[in-house]
Symmetry: C2
Subunit: 396 residues, 2 copies
C-alpha cells in the first residue's frame, strides 16, 4: 500500500521538499522532464520520495508511481541521478489490460540535495526562478547529469554548473526567459563544443495570490477551495470585527485592514486576485475603488448586478467614472454560472472563475472546444519562443 500523498497542492509538495532539505533528510526528487503524446501531468510535475516509501506529489495518474518508487530506492542506494523513459503507447498497454496510461514519459530521478535548494527556496519564498538541469549528455560526460544553473529573470548564475552546461547557457537564455515568465518547463537539446547536451529548462513560479476582503462565514469555503487549487490566500477583514486567524485556519495569512488602506495593504501585482465580499455596501465600494488603483487583473465583487449598478451611480455622483479597462477587471456578479446556492457551491463558482482568469482560459466545456487540453509549449533553444501559447485563446 502506497503512502504517497499523491494529490497534494503543489505548494505543499514544495513545502515537503524544503523540509527534507532543511532536515538534511535522505530523499529522491522525481521530475517529469518530457512528455510525448497525452499524459496526465506535464513537464515540471514532481514527487518527493523518502526511504520509507512515503512521498508527496504526483508524476502520472498513478501509472508509474510504483515503478518510480522502486527506482528511487536504487537512486538512494547508489547516490547517482538517472533519467528514465517509459513508453506507454505500446499496443498491449493502450488497447489491452495493461497500465493503460498514454504517452511517452521521461523522468529525472535524483538524490535531493543542495543543487535544488535555490529553486525550492524561491518557490516557497514567493519569487519566480528558472533552473536549467543537464538531463542528457552525448559527450559521454555522465558526471554532468543533474548539474544545474539558475536564472533570475535576467541572467544565468552558473557557479555550480558543469562545463557542459556552462557552454550552453548563452544559447538557452531566450527559451529560459520565456519559460521563466510562463512557469512552464521543457527539455531542449543544445549543441556545444563537446557535443549535444539535453537540458531541462524549468520555470518555477510561486502560486498566484488571492486576497479575500470579508470576515463572514461565506469566506471560509472560498479560502478552502482556493487553497486546494494552489492559490496563496490572504483574508483581509475590516475593523478587525470578526477577524482572527482561528476563523480561517486554511488561510496563509489573516490581516486586519480598513477599506481606505487597501491599496497600501501589500504589494499588488498582475498575479494577485482580489475578491470583495464584505457584504457592506460602502466598504465594498471603497475597497473596489482602491483595488482599481492597483494592477490586479481581477476584482470579484459579491452581490447582484443591481447592487453594482447602484454602486456605479454613487461613484458617478462623486465624479468617479469607470473606464472600460477598469470595468473589464471587475467581475460582478462574481463567479462562473455553475448553479447551486449552498456556501460551498457559491465558493466553488468563485474559485472556478479565479482559476479560469489566472490561467487565461475561457470557461467552456473542454469537450465542446477544439485544440489540446494543456497549453502547448514550443521551445527552441535558438529562437524566441511562445510558451504562453494558449490553445484555448486560438479558438475564441
Amino acid at each position: 500500500m502506497s503512502t504517497t500523498d499523491w494529490s497534494l497542492p503543489e505548494t505543499d509538495v514544495f513545502d515537503q521538499i524544503r523540509a527534507a532539505l532543511d532536515d538534511d533528510a535522505d530523499a529522491v526528487l522525481a521530475t517529469v522532464i518530457d512528455v510525448e503524446g497525452s499524459a496526465y501531468r506535464r513537464p515540471g510535475a514532481k514527487m518527493i520520495l523518502r526511504p520509507d516509501g512515503s512521498g508527496a506529489g504526483s508524476i502520472t495518474a498513478g501509472c508509474l508511481e510504483d515503478e518510480v518508487r522502486a527506482l528511487a530506492a536504487e537512486v538512494l542506494a547508489d547516490g547517482d541521478p538517472r533519467v528514465e523513459t517509459w513508453d506507454l503507447t505500446g499496443e498491449d498497454d493502450v488497447w489491452g489490460l495493461g497500465v493503460g496510461c498514454n504517452g511517452v514519459i521521461t523522468v529525472l530521478l535524483e538524490p535531493l540535495g543542495d543543487s535544488y535548494r535555490p529553486v525550492v527556496e524561491a518557490r516557497t519564498d514567493g519569487a519566480p526562478i528558472g533552473v536549467a538541469t543537464v538531463v542528457g549528455d552525448e559527450s559521454g560526460a555522465d558526471r554532468a547529469l543533474g548539474s544545474r544553473a539558475y536564472y533570475d529573470g535576467n541572467d544565468f548564475s552558473a557557479g555550480a554548473a558543469d562545463g557542459a552546461l556552462s557552454d550552453a547557457l548563452a544559447e538557452l537564455e531566450p527559451a529560459m526567459a520565456t519559460l521563466y515568465e510562463s512557469g512552464k518547463a521543457e527539455t531542449v537539446a543544445v549543441e556545444t563544443d563537446g557535443g549535444t547536451v539535453e537540458v531541462f529548462l524549468e520555470g518555477v513560479r510561486p502560486p498566484p495570490e488571492l486576497v479575500v476582503f470579508g470576515s463572514g462565514p461565506d469566506v471560509a469555503p472560498v479560502v478552502e477551495l482556493a487553497k486546494l487549487v494552489d492559490f496563496r490566500v490572504t483574508v483581509a477583514s475590516f475593523r478587525g470585527g470578526k477577524a482572527g486567524a482561528e476563523r480561517f485556519p486554511r488561510a496563509d495569512e489573516v490581516v486586519s485592514s480598513s477599506p481606505a488602506d487597501v491599496s497600501d495593504l501589500r504589494e499588488w501585482d498582475g498575479d494577485t486576485y482580489a475578491v470583495v465580499m464584505t457584504h457592506n455596501f460602502l466598504d465594498d465600494r471603497i475597497a473596489l475603488e482602491e483595488l482599481l488603483e492597483t494592477p490586479v487583473p481581477y476584482v470579484g465583487l459579491m452581490g447582484p448586478h443591481d447592487r453594482f449598478e447602484e454602486m456605479r451611480e454613487d461613484m458617478a455622483d462623486d465624479g468617479r467614472t469607470l473606464t472600460e479597462d477598469e470595468r473589464e477587471r471587475i467581475y460582478t456578479p462574481i463567479g462562473l454560472s455553475l448553479g447551486g446556492d449552498s456556501p460551498y457551491q457559491i465558493g466553488y463558482s468563485i474559485v472556478a472563475e479565479l482559476l479560469a482568469v489566472a490561467n487565461d482560459r475561457t470557461p467552456k466545456h473542454l469537450s465542446r472546444r477544439a485544440g489540446p487540453i494543456h497549453d502547448r509549449v514550443d521551445v527552441d533553444a535558438n529562437a524566441d519562443t511562445d510558451a504562453n501559447a494558449d490553445a484555448d485563446a486560438s479558438t475564441e
Copy 2:
C-alpha cells in the same frame, strides 16, 4: 464566538437534523421561507440550532445568524413555531455601516419535531418529497402555524395537517408538483373558507449521484470536491485491484465491479452522473458503451480527444456507431477549461462541469451574462408553474 458549522454541505445538515430527531434532542429548525430582492441563500435554506448555541447550516451570509440564534432560544423555551421577517434594504443598512446584507428575508423557526421527520428521512434515504407548511394564517388560527402535509409526487397525505391546511391542499397541488420536480421552494398564499392561509411549499430532493469508475489516485480529489458541492459519490473500481473503501474515505460507497456489469451495477437515472477514469482503454470503452445503455445524462471520459476518436473507430469497426444523442451525453476531454494540471486542478475542472450540467447551466462568467444569478421561481397556487426557469438558458 459562534460554533455554527456554517458552510456544511446540505447533506451533512440533513444528517445532523436526522440525528437530532433520532436522539429526541432539543433543537430548533430555521428555514428561509421567503426572500425579496437579493439574498445569499434562497427559500429552503436551513439551519439546525441547539440549546448550547451550536448549530449547522446557513440561512444568510452571516447577517442574521446571531439574531436567529437568540430567537431560537426563545422558541426552545416556549415551544411555539414563529415566523420572523428581516428587512435589510433600509438605507442605514445598505449604504452605511450596518449589517449590509440585501433583501427582505423571512424565516420560519420551529422546535424540531416529528412533523419534519418524513422530510428528513426521505432526503437522507435518497427519495424526493414535497412538504407544505402553514406559515401564516389570517384567520387567526395561530395553532395552525407549522402544521404540515406531505406530497409524494402524486398526492398530498394530510393526516397530520390542520384544518386550515387541509382545505387548501387541492389548490396547492399544481405548485407543489412543480416544486417537487425542481427541488425548489416558495411561499404562496391561498384562499380558504376560513380566510387567507400562507403556505410554504418545499420540494426536497436528494443530492445528485456521481459514480466514478476508476481506482487511481486521481479519483480521490474528484470524490473530495464532489462531496463538498453535495453530490452523493460512489467509487466503482474494476477487478477489485486497488479498490477498498479506505482509499476513498470521503466516498459514500466504494464498490467493486467489472466493465461489462456497469449497467447492472445500480439503478441509473437522469439524476446520476458518471465519470470514467480507469486509464485503461478497453475498460473505459466497455464502461462507456454500458453507460450509454442507461439514462444517465452525463458520461465524462478522462483522456484526450484523440483517444476518444480511436475508441470511436474501434467501436465503429465492431458495428457500434454513436447516435447524436449519445455523442451529446459524452463529455471528453472531461471538465471545464479552467487551466491547471495538478490533481486538484484537474479534479476541480471535472466537478465544475458536473455542477454546470446537473444545474443545466452554461458555464460562463456571471458578470458576462444577463439575468439574475439564481433561478427565478414564479409560483401561483392556481396555475401551472415554471419553477425550472433558468435565467441562463434564455440568454443562450
